[in-house]
């Protein structure tokens, strides 16, 4: 029998109550929010439960919403995949913009190790309990978290590119 969205929703609701919320179907994938404190338990439950069997963490990444309210400025997204029934889910976890901290799941899924490091590298999200939380892709000397919206994408040291010659003004770039 196929694993239905309602079964996933009801078993999560029954176990975690109000810590899981806002279930909806986005682009064929069941999506929901988890309170940041219970993410470890939720992911462990999804992995170990005999019906749910989400045995694979497809990806883990960050998001930044600078215009949102303080407590929802940073988010972590987890995608999980049940290989047996071929069902996917997407989990969102909103964090405080000033001190984004969340529990690491690197011991539940070894693949989360590098993905959490990358998310730390680009968004500055602290994964508590991670065995080696340091930058993985960018150079170690970097002080900014480049995918946060307040940091400019372009390098300040560029000398040969004068915006006037490329039809750009300060208003339209």
């Amino acid at each position: 029998m196929a694993l239905d969205n309602t079964i996933i929703q009801e078993s999560l609701r029954g176990r975690f109550g109000d810590d899981v919320a806002d279930f909806k179907q986005i682009h064929d994938i069941l999506t929901f929010e988890v309170a940041s404190g219970s993410i470890r338990e939720v992911i462990q439950f999804l992995r170990d439960d005999q019906t749910l069997r989400f045995n694979f963490l497809t990806t883990l990444c960050g998001m930044h919403f600078p215009d949102a309210e303080q407590s929802r400025q940073i988010a972590v997204v987890y995608h999980m995949h049940n290989w047996i029934d071929n069902v996917r889910i997407r989990i969102k976890c909103y964090l405080d913009g000033d001190a984004p901290e969340i529990d690491s799941v690197a011991d539940l899924f070894l693949s989360a190790n590098w993905q959490e490091r990358e998310t730390y590298d680009f968004f500055g999200i602290i994964f508590k309990g991670h065995p080696q939380l340091k930058r993985i892709l960018n150079m170690d000397e970097m002080v900014s978290f480049p995918l946060r919206k307040e940091f400019p994408m372009e390098d300040g040291g560029r000398t040969d590119k004068d915006d006037r010659f490329f039809g750009r003004t300060t208003d339209n770039c």
Binding site: M142, F151, E154, D155, R158
Partner: protein, 175 residues
């Protein structure tokens, strides 16, 4: 065959400047060190191969050890994380050494005006010849090598001790 440098020639002898002869020898036996990180490296592979044949200009053997190379060819995007590696490779090369920056990325960062990419290798090492293009054709790379040969021919044998060169290296903080 290379033309003889200016000098006095007679029956069984030739008199000229030693620096000219050394320059001629250096220019026609430049050992390249290809530092290829992306598509410009593919163009250089074509330059190396039989059709364009860089060996015609005295660069038969690619040297993958910086200690036995004269000419560092930097081809491709250099990420900021790669910059210290490139600099170390340059520092390991013995004098005399020259650098050709091949392609838009190595020259200026190219289209990658972004936080992770070095905006031109001349931010970390001195460059002798810039080859533009994205990527440059093999003919352009060969032209860059020929331009460098002209530099090498006309350079002082003791370029290393000239005040300009010492000052240039000091500005890059290379000992």
């Amino acid at each position: 065959m290379a033309d003889a440098p200016p000098g006095v020639q007679g029956e069984g002898f030739f008199a000229g400047k030693l620096s000219d002869v050394v320059g001629l020898a250096r220019a026609n036996s430049l050992w390249p060190l290809p530092f290829a990180t992306s598509c410009c490296g593919i163009e250089f592979m074509a330059t190396m191969a039989s059709h364009y044949d860089v060996a015609r200009f005295g660069s038969e053997r690619m040297s993958f050890s910086p200690r036995q190379a004269d000419m560092l060819l930097v081809m491709g995007t250099i990420a900021k994380k790669m910059a210290p590696v490139l600099r170390q490779v340059y520092e390991q090369m013995a004098e005399p050494r020259w650098v050709i920056s091949v392609g838009a990325c190595a020259c200026s960062g190219g289209i990658f005006d972004t936080y992770s990419v070095l905006q031109g290798i001349d931010k970390v090492i001195p460059v002798d010849v810039y080859v533009p293009g994205c990527p440059p054709r093999p003919e352009q790379i060969l032209d860059g090598i020929l331009q460098l040969q002209e530099l090498v021919k006309n350079e002082s044998v003791r370029r290393r001790s000239s005040p300009e060169y010492v000052e240039l290296l000091a500005s890059y903080n290379i000992k």
